[in-house]
Every structure is written in structure tokens, then in C-alpha cells.
Symmetry: D2
Subunit: 368 residues, 4 copies
């Protein structure tokens, strides 16, 4: 699929915010997708995208999107089979449900529907089979569309080490303390008055997400529903004066004994599942295990694998549980827009966008 | 003791470094002590203090100290009964032992001797009775001097909530993740190249101190030795781009059930022990329990109680242990020079400096 | 005036913002003034001050003010002779004019009326005699109240070196580049997304103020109006990731030759004018000339003289003009609330508050 | 020249420092050059490069260089025709002279020889013809080697707007105030204790370079020497808490009248000279003129043109001179290693490396 002509046309909802901008930026060079519509709140509707968006992500506004006229979020996103949602919590639920009901595939970064029993919460390297929850979703909701969600940005990072440990040894308990970048709060987000020369030991609503989402992600799909994993997580979150990159310090109690060599081996042997491996956004090494004493570090490691690799380090025994380690994720790439785009790739690769849809759009066989 | 004439003359060892400067700065207005001698490495010896010290702490160099001639650290600190040590680890052990052997009282901020069985490791509000370990020390070492030490700067912070919880409910296990200020590394210390827009999940040698010092601090003095408290601590330390203030996120497993109201009550009722309460450096409220969702914060709370109060907040249940909370300490005041000065006050108030010494120096009865 | 009973009661307008909070904080211990009323926008009116204000300045909310009920800004500020205005530009003009017309003395930190021909723009050490412009103001406006204003926060800093140079040698041209702290933008003010690891070479509306206010400040009062000083200023302003302290790099073309020794002497001999010298907020040394190569620095020097001293350094010849130097001001103390309070002190000391007013309020003779 | 086999082998001197690391990093993918030798001080000599270098620049150590054994700086850099020098000032002069005398082409980023009359100081887009000063250099020094230097990192930025203005209108006087990133000081460089929440209005030795280098860069080559441009510059430099990117605020007095439209046109029409345009490191747009009020900003614009474009903005009239503007350069890319590599490309393209040398090395015709 080399020419832009047979790319899948997509819309970005809430395209003027920081996550929306990341979607637009990452999709500019995407081999499968092409942004043909953008939406935003009433205030911006009707303006050129370049005028409506106060562009804050790296690089310039992609020329093909700069001149699109912003549509109101509650209007029709146009003749596209797939929409990316960067909608704020307050409106995400209603708009996403309405769009799926009208047949759109909705790949969402919003938290509103993540924990709905029939909505897949997916990181393709972690729980690719959960994509099939869409079948149950379509049946129950009676629609031909679909909604799939990507987890909270901090969860998207430390779910990688949890996956590795859970699969190899079983997890019983987790204590996790995060140090999160200011970009996670969007724009204008965190006031510099609050965060310069400071740390804020609180992010509204965040700890709930860290407690609940991992168990769903590592749960099992059976009979059209997810049976959550049985471990308990105790999170404490902090905002630190850092642009990008969420760092997590984890202590994990395992179900069976594990030497540090075995743990490191488990990390070393992790690879993306077949199928997922070949998605355009899947990095060569989804997890990078570092052996230095003082890594990973946000500024130095967040861009690994184009911001899609999760870095893990400081693997060592924990005197109160079993294993301690540190993990790092680029929160606005892997942890937000990049993750939702990879989810959309997986949706397409899994056949859920529909042959008919692709044919109607004259989109040929996906090839890279 | 209102006039400067009958203050106790003291020396500051390694007075040109950041902790040494804090000693000099805090002692400038001290009601009991007066700096009459300063030492530093060979390189600085013989210079005026104001020329030798690259002054980096707030305010100006106290006039009375600016013109002192710096003595070499291995020389005699002069006719003083008490010395404050800000010596680096490499030389602290040897120099401090030699001085105590020659009759000096050494109040040290160095880590070298903290875990020696006969050396008191003291925070006056926490374990004031450990001062009496000096008797065993003098007997065993056969000297008339003394060495007392203050704990690691991060430990000095979270030992306050641990003390409160241990006394009220008993502690079994602790998971602690710290976010530590750059001033803790001295000067030049942390390169800005390493820490701007970054977090470093490592501080050399720090986690060992956090694992071992709390149990000694909360241990019991009996038969001339300290029986350490029986809990286990698992620390993870991080350096963050912050000037002053070490923040700690704690999860604690208690020996008996405790509701959050009981926990908050225990914090609310903590006061400094009699005797300690009246020391010049003891703050009115050693522990400040905050009820806001997002406090304590380093920039906003580190100066509470002239930097000697420890702030605690976010007290809430922990799903994997029992209680979670956040605590904050000003690492270079309470956590370094301020703590060692308060220790010296406690040494004097406990009578260990010696009546004869005070009389020889024409220092009258301590009064404030 | 030692007891709180015979202090002058005052109101703070827009008391919930950052400058308003600084007023409340600084007035808590003021020997002459006592805050008895606070106002804010409709949204906050009717609430307790402690609930309405998201307190962000150092220290805790003064107890005497915490429980005041916030009045709406357009209502009567109560039975007080003097109000401090931290009103935003949009409403300052109308509200301040209305209050002066009703007899209040308005000491404003807002920019709205600074350049009005009959409104004094004052820094007491710089142009104390401009206070007498109030006579013309009262005559022209036909009111018994008064409005006096304090200059822009950056101007308040570099006006000190300009004053010294203008008086001693005459100034013809000035090139000034500022590096301004984020606290100057209030709260939430500058997004951390914009300023972390960045510099913004722009502050809306700021350069106009830097071009015009200095000439008025150094102008001459004659015949009931200010004849502005005749020099030209070219400013360039920048926002830098710094909490407090506006730094300015100045190049100045003088009217007559001046050796660097003469320039330094001029700085060394600057003192506050008689009368101004004794105001409670006037620092012992209004200008501190530093001789180090690398000072003044914001974090190290902003608090000099309780944040009311301006620090000057790096005095050296300028190859394109005559003199280059750097000056620093604490922008929210001297440059905002502190300056307006000192103006109010000067207004009272100059007799413009009115004997009758003071008597009616049972406020006795001012004494310190 | 597509295969690595016929690339020109080069050595990097002082390869373990931050600029040395940038050389190694940028040369990893260079189409013409291949690093085959690295040198460092005695302390590191004999170690693997990956062990000797405390790698701090983005990305990982290039595999081809990681295993090179570090040579001592005063030894032979090996069978290479060209060396890149990141040597510190203290040794650069001696080592660089010795190497040129032995026939090496030395492309230096050090300041030691920049102002030598027979050493070209070059930015290829600015003064490409100065390369021919090598002829005079070889004649005078009696060597077959060569030394060419790149200017100071801050100068490399603002020389672009000066070039445009000087060519179009003539420059008489310049006032420039810089805000410079901490990466300019190398590693460990600036202590975080000095720069967090601070600005330092001083960089040792920097202002001298800013006063003298621009006149040489914009000077004319005639009769084997450079006749410096006749304008005067008055610089003031500042270090700000910023990772990368030197920002400069310029005020310029022109020799003839210029409207702002003419000035903007002059910027808009600037292109790299023929020959220079096609060098691998020359960006498509050497100068990017921005029209927003608040750009360029370091974090947002430093990476333009792979860090080789200089961004200019805020072009407006200056009341004391003629034009004010802001310019930005990536100090460690365009302003250090990137600039010196582009110089080497220009040296090769200009034929100064010597056909014989290239033939002996079996390096074919340069082609991209």
C-alpha cells in the first residue's frame, strides 16, 4: 500500500488538543491511514485546522491536514470507516457510543469506556486476542461498528513488565509508584507555577485507573467476556517537572520463586506475538532490558523504538516482595496516540474493519 | 545564655562543602554555639574561609566566620569541646575516631560510623534515649570524647511517620520510593546535563542506608546496645529536578488493624518528648499532618518549621499492605546540618559535654 | 502603632489571585495596615477567603484573613480609607476610578491607569515627589480620593540602575533584554508545557510598558504634570523557566563620559531619600552593587532585603554604548505587592490619606 | 559513494567528551566519512570507546565505534587524512598545529586557533570563500596539512541574521544578549545546584568570542588574509536552565535605511551558495524566518533542519538602533559537531583534501 490513494481514510476526534495533535502528527506518514477529517469543540468548528490548533507537538503541522476545515465533534466525521478519539472524558462516552452505533470503528484513547465489560482494552503485544471481544460487543450492542480502547498512559508502560512476570511466574501483589511527565496532562495542563522546582504527589483520578486497568489487560477472554487477572495493585502517582516519559518503580510479589537470572531471561525472551510483530507501529524490541545501574531515564530512553519501546531496568530482589524494577514509557507516543494507532492497525489486521468497507473505499490489500 | 561570650565554641569540619556551609549558616544565630574554627582539605587550608568556600547556600557568609583561617582537616580543630562533621565518607571514619579519642564531642552528619554498634544514631524527637549509648561507647573505646551521628537525609524524613505508626500499631514491612532533591548530592554534585528534563532512578549507596538505618533508629537501647526494630524495608530511590526537599511515598504493613481515623489520630497526637521539646532547633510541630489531596509538596512545604518540620499527607488505605502515605523533609536542614545541630543540643542538654568542659570554657548554665 | 487596634483598615481587591495573595501575605504582619476586607470576581464572592483562594504563595493563609467573606469586586469594599488593587487589566480602570471618586485611596498594581497624566506612577526611592501629583488629580477629577500606581514588575527592577545613571551622567539611550520569571504571569499563568526546557521570547503587552514607564518615572513634576525624561528605551522580553526574579541585561548610552569607577561610585552612594528611608517596607540598601563576575543571580539574590532590594552587577564598559550591567528584582515582592504597599506607606507618610480619615477611624499617630 | 568501503576514514580527537560524542553520533550515518580512530586523554587511552565514554548524547553508541580502542591524544591518530577536533582549549593549539604539520586536515571545533590570521573560521553558508585561506596557511606554515575552524556555538547562530543584514544593508553596531543552553558547557559542565530555578549572567571567556569572531566571519578574503568587517558588537551572555538551543536577542544599527518588509524579504531570499547547497549537512533552509509573535523557541525550533537550520523571528523596528530580532541555533549540532562536519565536507568539496590522498585511500569520487 505505497500510494496515498489506497490508504484508509480516517478522522481524528478532538484533533486540536495535545493527544489529537499527536494523532495528526503520527498519522502524517502512516503507511495505512490518511487523515481526511478532524473534529473539535464548537468553538473551533469551521476554522482551518492550522488556525484552530495551537500546535504544541514537535515538528510542523502536516500540510495535508493544516487546511482541513474543523468539524464540530457532534457532527458526522465524514465518509471514513475508522475514527481516532482523543475526546475528553466528559464527552467521550456519548460520542463514541453514538459513532459505533452508526457503524464506525472507534479507536479511543479516552478512559470513558475502557472498563466496560464488552469493550476491548488493548495493547497489541500484551493481549492481542482481546480484539475478539468485538464480536460480543457487536452482538450485545446490535451494531456493526466497534469500540476499542487503549489503556491509561502510565499503565501502558508498566503493563509490559507485569505481563512478562505474570506469564513466567504469576503475580500476586504489586506496589507501584509513578513519576509522570507534564505532557500527560495535556495543554495548558499543569501550571508552571505548580511544578517548577516541585513534585506533586497527586493526579486526579489516576490511581483508580492504575488499580483497575492492569487486571483487565492481563485477564482472559472466554465466553465473550474478560476474566480479570487475580492480582492486587497499590499505586501512588506523582507529577514531576519532566516533559515526556512516565517512570514507574515497581515491587512485585510473585506466585512462585524466581531468581534474578530467570527474571532477566524472561525479559530477554519477550517478543511481540505473531501478527502483531508486523504492524507498522510495533517496535523491533517492545521491551528493552537495560543493565546499567541508573537506567532507564526518561530523557535518555523515552524515544527508544520511536517512542514505542518500553524500557526496563534496575531488576533486583525486593526484601518485602520478590522483585523490584523500574520501567519507562513515552507517555504521549506508546502511552497515548501511538498506542491507539497500533490498536487500529491490529483491528484492521484482524479483519474487523470489514472487507466490504475496505472495498467500498477502494482500499486494496494491506501491504508494506 | 544571651551574650555571645558564654556560648560554647565549636568547630565545623569540612566547612567549605554544602553541608559545611549549612552548618556555618545555621550556627550564625545559634543561641548556644559559636563557630570559632573551620577545617577543610589541604587545598583550602590557610585561606580565609570566605575565599575558600564557594558559597552556595542562601544568604551571605556570616561575618564572624568569613575571616576565619581554614585549618587542615587532619590538624587540631582548636580549643573547642564540640565539633560538627560534614566530612566526606572517605575520611570521616578516621578523622572522627581520632577526634573522639582526643576528647572531642563529634556531632556527625557523615554516614561512616552510623551503623557502628556503640555509636548513637539519633533524631531527638524519635529516639532521644539512644544518647545514653555514649556511656557504653566511652567505656568500650576508653575515651572521654563522644561520637553521635544523624541519619541519612531521606531516612530523617520518613522515620517520623514510621515512628508514629510503629509506636501505635507496630510495623512489619515497608515499601518506600523516594524522589530526592539535587541539593542532597552536594556541590557541584549532580550535573545539570543529567537531571534537566529527567529523573535518575539511582543514587549510589543510598538504598543500603534506607534499608538499615530505620531499624536502628526505632530499636531499643538495652544493656549498652541497640536492639534493632524487627521490620523490613524495601527502598527505591530517585533523583528529580528539584532544589530542596526529599519526598517519600510509603506503603506500610502494620502488626495490627488500624482504621484511617486511628492513623490520623496517631499523627495528630505526636509531640516531641519532654526535654527535646525545648531544644532551640526543635520545631513547634515536628510532624505536620496535611489533609489536602495534593500535599505535601517540596517547594510549598519544605520550609515548614524553619525547615525542621516533617510534613505528612495523603494518608489512605493500601490494598496490598495497610497504609499508604507521603512524607516530606527538607533534606539540607532537618535532613543534614539542622539535624546534627539539634543532636548537639540534645548532647549538651543530656549532660554529655561535661560540666568541667563547660566550666573550663567559662560557659554558664544554658538558658534561653 | 504597636497594637492591631489602631492600624489602618484596608481592603485588597482581586485578593484571590497571586498578586492579591502576596498583598494578603505581606500585610499580615504589617505595622500600619490591617486587611479587613477582600474582594474577588462574582464566582468567588460569598465564599470564605480560604475556600475561594487557591493559595499558592509561600507560607499559610494568615488566620485573620482566612475567614473573611469575599465581597464582589464591584461592591463596596467597606469602611476602609485605603484599598490595594491587584485587579486584572480588563476591569482595573473602571473599578479604580469609581472607588477614587467615592473617596478611597487606591494603591494599584494594575497597569490600566499608570500612564494617565494625572496619576502618579511611583517607586518611593526613585521619584517620591511625584506623590504630589495627587493634588492635580483631585482638582481635575473633583474627588477626595486618590489613585497611585506602581510600575510594571520588570521596570521596577531596572529603574534603579537607570535612576542612578541618569542622575549622575544623564541617559540618552537604553537597550534592555529581560529574562522574566513565571510568577510574573500569575496563576495558572504559564503552562509548564510551554516553558519546561524552553525560553519564550515574548510576553504579551510587556514591551510597550518597558518602553514608556521609565521615562515617566524619571520625569519631572512641574505645574501639576510630569515632564517625561528624554531618553529612548528599546526592550526585548523573554520568559525563562524560573520561579521568581526578573533579570535585565542593560546597555546604556550616557550624556557624558563616565569611567567605570565613577559608575560604581554612583551606585555605591545611592540611598533612599529622607522620609522614604523610614518607611516600613524600604530596605536598608535599596540597591546592592555586587562585584562578582557572575552575580546577581535570581535564585541567590532575589530575596535580598526581604525581596525589596534590587541587585546590580557586571558593571563594565559597552563597546556600542557606554555602560553594560545586569540588574535583578524580585518580581512579586518589590515588583508587585511589596512595591504597592510601600507606595501606600508613602501616601500615608505624605499626609494624603487625610487627618480626618485617620481620626474617624481612631487611627493614632503613625509610629514605629 | 554508497558503500562504507570507499568512505573517507577519519579520526575524532577528544572523542569521549560531549562534543566528541556528537561527532561520533553524527558521523555514524555520514555518507562521506567513517570514524576509524578515536583519541582521548591518557586516563582513557587503551580502553574500549564504549567503556571510556560516559555516553550522554541521544541514541546509543554506534556499533562500529563502540569497540575502537581509544588512542592517547598526543599519539598518531592513524592512517586517516582528516581529523575532527573536540579538544579542550588547553591542549587544542599544540595538538592541532602538530597534526597539521604532519599533513593532516584538522577540522576543529576548538577556539584556540580561530582568530589566527591564517586559519579559516568558516560557516559554509556564510563565508565559503574563506576556505581558500588554506593556501596562504600552507605557504606560511610550510605544511601540506590544514586547519579550519568552526566558530563559537552562539556566534554560529546569530551570524546568520548578521550575514543577511550586512549583505543587504550594511551593519554598523550590534547589541546582542544570549540565553544559552547547559549542553554548551559539556559534561559534567554546569552543576544543577547552580542552574535549577536560576539564570547565570556569565559564561567564562564567552563574551570575548562573541565580540571578535563575527567580524572575521563576515570579513573579506584578499591577498591571503581576512579583512574583518567593520562593525562593533556588544554581547551579554547568560546561562539558562535549558538542555539545548542558544537564543539571541539582537538589536542592529544598519548603514542604510531599511523597512521591515525589506528586512523580511532579505531573510526570505537567503539561500546557501552554490556548492555549499549540496553538502550532505547543509539543510534545505539554512535560515527559517518565523512570523509568529513568540517564536523561535529553543525546545520547539532547535531541531529544525536536523538541528542545522537557524531560526529567526520577532523582526521589528528598534527605537535605539534599526532592527530588533531573535535568533536560535542548536548549539551542539549546527553550533558544534554538525558545523565542523559541514566544514569538513566543504574542505573535501573544495579539493583541499587532495586527490592523491583520496586515491591513496582508494576513496572514489564523491557522490550522493
Amino acid at each position: 500500500m505505497s500510494s496515498s490513494n489506497n490508504k484508509i481514510p480516517v478522522a481524528v476526534l478532538a484533533a486540536t488538543g495535545t493527544v489529537g495533535q499527536r494523532f495528526v502528527s503520527l498519522l502524517a506518514e502512516h503507511p495505512w491511514f490518511k487523515v481526511v477529517a478532524v473534529t473539535a469543540s464548537e468553538r473551533s468548528a469551521g476554522q482551518r485546522y492550522a488556525d484552530a490548533a495551537s500546535w504544541v507537538v514537535p515538528g510542523e503541522i502536516p500540510p495535508g491536514v493544516a487546511d482541513l476545515v474543523v468539524r464540530p465533534t457532534d457532527a458526522d466525521p465524514g465518509d471514513v470507516p475508522l475514527v481516532f478519539s482523543a475526546l475528553p472524558g466528559s464527552v467521550a462516552r456519548e460520542v463514541e457510543l453514538a459513532l459505533a452505533a452508526r457503524g464506525y470503528a472507534v479507536c479511543s484513547n479516552a478512559s470513558a469506556l475502557r472498563m466496560e465489560p464488552d469493550v476491548p482494552l488493548i495493547v497489541p503485544e500484551i493481549n492481542p486476542d482481546h480484539i475478539h471481544l468485538i464480536k460480543a460487543q457487536r452482538e450485545m450492542r446490535g451494531w456493526s461498528g466497534s469500540i476499542i480502547t487503549a489503556p491509561n498512559c502510565a499503565v501502558t508502560g508498566f503493563i509490559f513488565p507485569l505481563k512478562v512476570l505474570h506469564e513466567a511466574f504469576g503475580i500476586e501483589k504489586v506496589n507501584v509508584v509513578t513519576m509522570q511527565a507534564i505532557s500527560g496532562a495535556g495543554y495548558p495542563g499543569v501550571s508552571s507555577f505548580d511544578i517548577l522546582d516541585n513534585v506533586i504527589p497527586f493526579i486526579s483520578g489516576e490511581e483508580d485507573k492504575l488499580e483497575t486497568e492492569p487486571a483487565k489487560l492481563l485477564g482472559k477472554l472466554a465466553d465473550g467476556k474478560i476474566d480479570p487477572a487475580g492480582f492486587i495493585i497499590s499505586p501512588q502517582v506523582n507529577r514531576v517537572p519532566l516533559m515526556d516519559g512516565h517512570l514507574a518503580a515497581l515491587s512485585v510479589k510473585l506466585a512462585k520463586d524466581a531468581g534474578m537470572d530467570e527474571v532477566r531471561e524472561a525479559f530477554g525472551s519477550f517478543v511481540a506475538p505473531e501478527g502483531v510483530r508486523d504492524l507498522p507501529s510495533t517496535p523491533e524490541r517492545p521491551v528493552i532490558l537495560r543493565s546499567e545501574d541508573d537506567r532507564p531515564q526518561p530523557r535518555r530512553d523515552r524515544d527508544a523504538g520511536n517512542g514505542m519501546s518500553v524500557s526496563v531496568g534496575r531488576v533486583r530482589p525486593c526484601p518485602v516482595f520478590d522483585v523490584k524494577l523500574v520501567s519507562l514509557v513515552h507517555n504521549t507516543l506508546r502511552g497515548a496516540a501511538g498506542g491507539a494507532i497500533q490498536n487500529a492497525e491490529w483491528l484492521v489486521a484482524s479483519g474487523y474493519l470489514g472487507e466490504q468497507t475496505l472495498e467500498r473505499l477502494h482500499v486494496g490489500t494491506l501491504a508494506r
